[in-house]
């Protein structure tokens, strides 16, 4: 193999993790079955809101196979689950943080709220025994809609949160915005509902908790995107255990999409209980439980206004959003509709003044938290629906109104706190229009009309902010955690390299992408690189995977550790080659003396470091093992344009996506095959939101009406056309990989593209406004209402 073959950067290297998944050798949490393990089952509230008068567990405790039954009162000394981000309101007060008990105490606040745990020899016995628990409920009125929850007279969910309000928070210069609106030639106004979604990773949440008397320690296997964060929150804030005594392992995880970031009640109760029953305890959610109890996404109600001058130039934006938190604050719930939302409202545009006010509200529903995109899809939907509507109202073409307002000078300071380092928005728009064959659209529309179909085209020029950072600024904004990542590069004596990363892969292919980075940087074959993740017992520390941060933050931490390895290797090489350290160059896997042909291979240096017979022991320690913590100086800003073309059957209301094109700028790309896969998946989730997915609670009873795959519409293969995807590259300026992140782009860009296309198609029949999802029922109703 020649040296140049060692660099696989930019190559579609086939995934190294695939073999185990394709042969059934993956190890997911439910596949872990310690000897002598028992099973947990959680009794969940059938009521959306009720006081618990009494829980009688005596019969359940006596049931066959039952080892223990625990209620909230039994968990003495166990604190509530914490929220990781403190939002301070416009009134200067901290957000309201009602207690979120591991098992409900005193009252239950949503259907699915866990109030007792049964531990039994078999899962069936635990489930059967749970039915024998007698709970005396005083059922209270419930409220599931965030706007209704703020109205006077609404049921009060928490004593400590009057009016169900968690906080009202604002960002931007209100006076400047008001002044700009006063002189606007045109104002576009929209009332928007961003529909509530249920994440639905195909692997349900699961946990296996084991206590060992030998070392008074616990091991938790859990479906987590960030095992160290899980351990930190669980030990330091909830259970009061030393971190040294708890090992959290997130093995193969079957999709996350945000829903597996959070510390949930179930695994917390199981770790606590594992010592009390002194047997390993296993729990795997049934899908019905996932629907009820996984943190949901979105659920915003927004009024938004865009002020324009006579030429269609944006002057100002004004946004008011009511955001549901659900019954309790999930781990990062509070930052989603604020820090991750209002800051994105500039989009790709030079809008000089933006003001956003957000009221977060408790409702009798499952908690709401980050779901693929987290705040950024909601912001993009507001911006791109406004832009579309403004273009229609002012008679400016959709590409043209965007071009008139694109940011073209970088770095660019937005009026909503972010500093965009780089971008190339025209290039993505051009290419998206090219692959979408926009020129041919009028002919296709005319042809559709001949067939009695309504054809429409919609644009979405999105931006996202990934790799949330830096820690000190996030801390000033209320983050209760750091936002760095950790990489450890352990060079083995024979030259192989084991890399420990704090990022977690649950479908993203890090074992391949990260190995490409390491192999290329060190000039060694990729087969000699092993990537380890997901285990607090092996990886030094880590913040995990969320917000499309793994390559730009986690990958950079690895690069920084590699830099340290190379620096040390140069010292060793200088000694071996009897040259000055400054004269040593590292290239293509060799440490050489500049201007000579004298060199040592990476493997020779590694061996020397571990067998230091001829070694500068007075200057350098033996061994070759380096760790780096990398805290980014800024977010990264992926951006692009998505174009959707739909054909609607006016007789049935069915929306057929006939063409979906995306051109994205993710900065430098390590593995284009994996990036394309991430785009595909994101688009499918974004299209799912816009076309069919919608979580529905009954307004009176608070019952979840979309609690199974028979009621909640999951996208299937037949719902999609082949996606056309392309990329443009402006490298990120502040990380050594030049990478920006690609995991969420599709989910952010797709919903407004699709809905703008639907609006474009329906304009012909007089429909002016439709909320997501554009189901046949809604579309048909809109068409028929417009007729009358």
């Amino acid at each position: 193999m020649g040296a140049s073959d060692l660099s696989s950067i930019g190559q579609p290297v086939r995934r190294r993790e695939d073999y185990r998944f394709l042969t059934g050798c993956g190890q997911f949490t439910d596949d872990v079955s310690p000897t002598n393990h028992v099973h947990a089952w959680f009794l969940r509230s059938p009521h959306a809101h009720a006081r618990i008068r009494k829980i009688d567990v005596a019969t359940a405790k006596a049931a066959p196979g039952v080892l223990a039954v625990y209620t909230g009162e039994d968990l003495a000394g166990v604190n509530g689950l914490p929220c990781g981000w403190l939002i301070t309101g416009t009134d200067g007060q901290p957000m309201k943080e009602p207690p979120h008990w591991v098992l409900a105490k005193g009252k239950v606040c949503y259907v699915g709220d866990a109030l007792a745990m049964v531990v039994a020899e078999s899962g069936e016995q635990a489930k059967d025994a749970a039915e024998l628990i007698a709970v005396d409920y005083e059922v209270l009125p419930a409220v599931v809609d965030p706007v209704a929850a703020l109205k006077s007279g609404a049921p009060q969910i928490h004593e400590g949160a009057p009016g169900n309000k968690c906080y009202t928070w604002a960002l931007g210069d209100k006076a400047a915005v008001d002044a700009a609106f006063a002189k606007a030639a045109h104002v576009t106004k929209l009332d928007i509902v961003n529909n509530r979604l249920i994440p639905n990773a195909i692997e349900p949440r699961a946990a296996v908790a084991t206590f060992s008397r030998a070392d008074d320690g616990y091991t938790l296997y859990v479906t987590s995107q960030n095992p160290h964060v899980e351990r930190l929150l669980m030990t330091a804030f909830v259970l009061g255990l030393p971190e040294t005594k708890v090992r959290v392992i997130a093995p193969d995880v079957g999709g996350g999409f945000g829903s597996k970031i959070y510390l949930y009640p179930e695994e917390t109760a199981m770790v606590w209980a594992s010592k009390h029953v002194n047997r390993p305890i296993k729990w795997t959610a049934e899908r019905s439980e996932s629907f009820l109890s996984d943190a949901h996404g979105r659920d915003h109600v927004t009024h938004a206004e865009l002020a324009l001058d006579k030429d269609g130039k944006f002057l100002a934006m004004r946004v008011h959003t009511t955001a549901a938190m659900g019954a309790y604050l999930s781990t990062f719930a509070s930052c989603v509709p604020t820090i991750l939302y209002a800051t994105l409202l500039a989009g790709q545009y030079t809008t000089p003044a933006i003001y956003c006010e957000v009221t977060a509200v408790f409702t009798n529903t499952a908690p709401v938290d980050a779901y693929r995109g987290a705040g950024r899809p909601e912001a993009t939907y507001v911006v791109e629906r406004l832009v579309h509507a403004a273009g229609v109202e002012m008679g400016i073409a959709q590409d043209e109104i965007r071009r008139r307002n694109f940011i073209r000078t970088f770095p660019y300071q937005t009026p909503v706190a972010l500093l965009y380092d780089t971008g190339g928005y025209d290039a993505c728009l051009d290419e998206a229009m090219n692959i979408a064959d926009v020129k041919g659209f009028p002919a296709r529309k005319a042809d559709a009309a001949k067939r009695g179909k309504l054809r429409g085209i919609g644009y979405s020029s999105y931006i996202e902010a990934c790799g949330i950072a830096p820690s000190n600024i996030a801390g000033a904004l209320g983050a209760r955690a750091g936002l760095y990542e950790v990489g450890e590069v352990r060079v083995n004596p024979t030259g192989g390299v084991t890399v420990f990363t704090g990022s977690h892969s649950h479908g993203q292919g890090h074992e391949t992408t990260f190995a490409q980075v390491v192999a290329s940087r060190l000039g060694i074959p990729i087969d000699t690189v092993e990537i380890v993740h997901g285990d607090t017992g092996r990886v030094p520390f880590g913040m995990g995977t969320y917000g499309s941060r793994s390559l730009s933050v986690g990958g950079t931490a690895i690069v920084k550790a590699i830099d340290k390895v190379v620096a040390k290797g140069k010292k060793i090489a200088a000694h071996l080659l009897e040259a000055a350290e400054a004269d040593i160059e590292f290239k293509d896997g060799k440490f050489g003396v500049a201007g000579t042909d004298r060199s040592k291979t990476f493997a020779e240096i590694a061996l020397t470091a571990y067998v230091p017979h001829n070694y500068p022991l007075d200057k350098v320690e033996p061994g070759l093992n380096e760790t780096a913590f990398y805290d980014p100086t800024n977010f990264t800003f992926p951006a692009g344009t998505h174009i959707c073309e739909v054909e609607i059957d006016p007789d049935t209301g069915v929306v057929d996506i006939v063409n979906f094109s995306a051109c994205d700028d993710f900065g430098n790309i390590i593995n284009p095959m994996i990036v394309e896969g991430q785009v595909h998946g994101g688009l499918a989730q974004g299209i799912g939101q816009a076309l069919m997915e919608c979580c529905v609670y009954d307004k009176e009873s608070g019952q979840l009406l979309t609690g199974s795959y028979m009621d909640y519409a999951m996208p299937r293969a037949s719902h999609f056309p082949p996606f056309k995807v392309a990329t443009k590259v402006t490298p990120c300026t502040h990380n050594p990989l030049g990478a920006k992140g690609c995991g969420e782009a599709g989910a952010i860009g797709a919903p407004p593209a699709l809905m703008n296309a639907v609006h474009d198609a329906l304009a012909a029949v007089g429909v002016t406004y439709l909320d997501m999802p554009a189901t046949p029922h809604r579309v048909w109703q809109a068409i028929n209402s417009a007729k009358h």
Binding site: L22, G24, A201, E286, S718
Partner: protein, 157 residues
């Protein structure tokens, strides 16, 4: 009440006494420790538990183990060659990046084999239609569809 069961799984005959209510997927995962067959839902929708029974794709969460008495069952563990070489359909999934988290993958691959058996020349639209019973949340199905077409072509050779 226990029932006696004799069946062949991945070419190996096996017998057991199981609780009558034991689902086939529970038997496969818990009794045989073949954990490649996954459970993703409780309503027979997601298809993660798909296995081949006498060559036909069946969701193993929808039948009792007792109903499979005497059957020939193939799970994902039974597809590759003894030397570890992947079946052409497995190889196509890898080559086309037809999987991400890997959880729905075993069911997808086994459904694909059933699909190819019934429609050896399935075009893209037919493949999409026939994947109705398998949900994937990661890939948007794009590369799964591509993989099945490529796998089918490889199997014809």
């Amino acid at each position: 009440m226990p029932v006696s069961l004799s069946l062949t799984v991945n070419g190996k005959p096996t017998s057991a006494d199981v609780d009558a209510r034991t689902l086939l997927v529970e038997f496969i995962r818990n009794n045989l420790a073949l954990t490649g067959t996954h459970v993703g839902c409780d309503t027979g929708q997601c298809g993660a538990c798909t296995v081949l029974i006498d060559g036909n794709a069946v969701k193993s969460c929808t039948i009792l183990a007792a109903q499979a008495n005497g059957a020939q069952i193939t799970t994902i563990e039974g597809l590759a060659e003894a030397n570890g070489e992947l079946h052409p359909m497995q190889a196509a999934f890898k080559d086309c990046h037809g999987l991400q988290c890997g959880f729905c993958t075993p069911g997808m691959v086994l459904s694909a084999l059933d699909l190819v058996k019934r429609y050896p020349d399935a075009d893209e639209a037919k493949i999409r239609e026939q994947l109705e019973g398998n949900i994937c949340r990661c890939t948007g199905y794009q590369n799964i569809v591509k993989a099945i077409a490529q796998g089918a072509a490889a199997m014809r050779r």
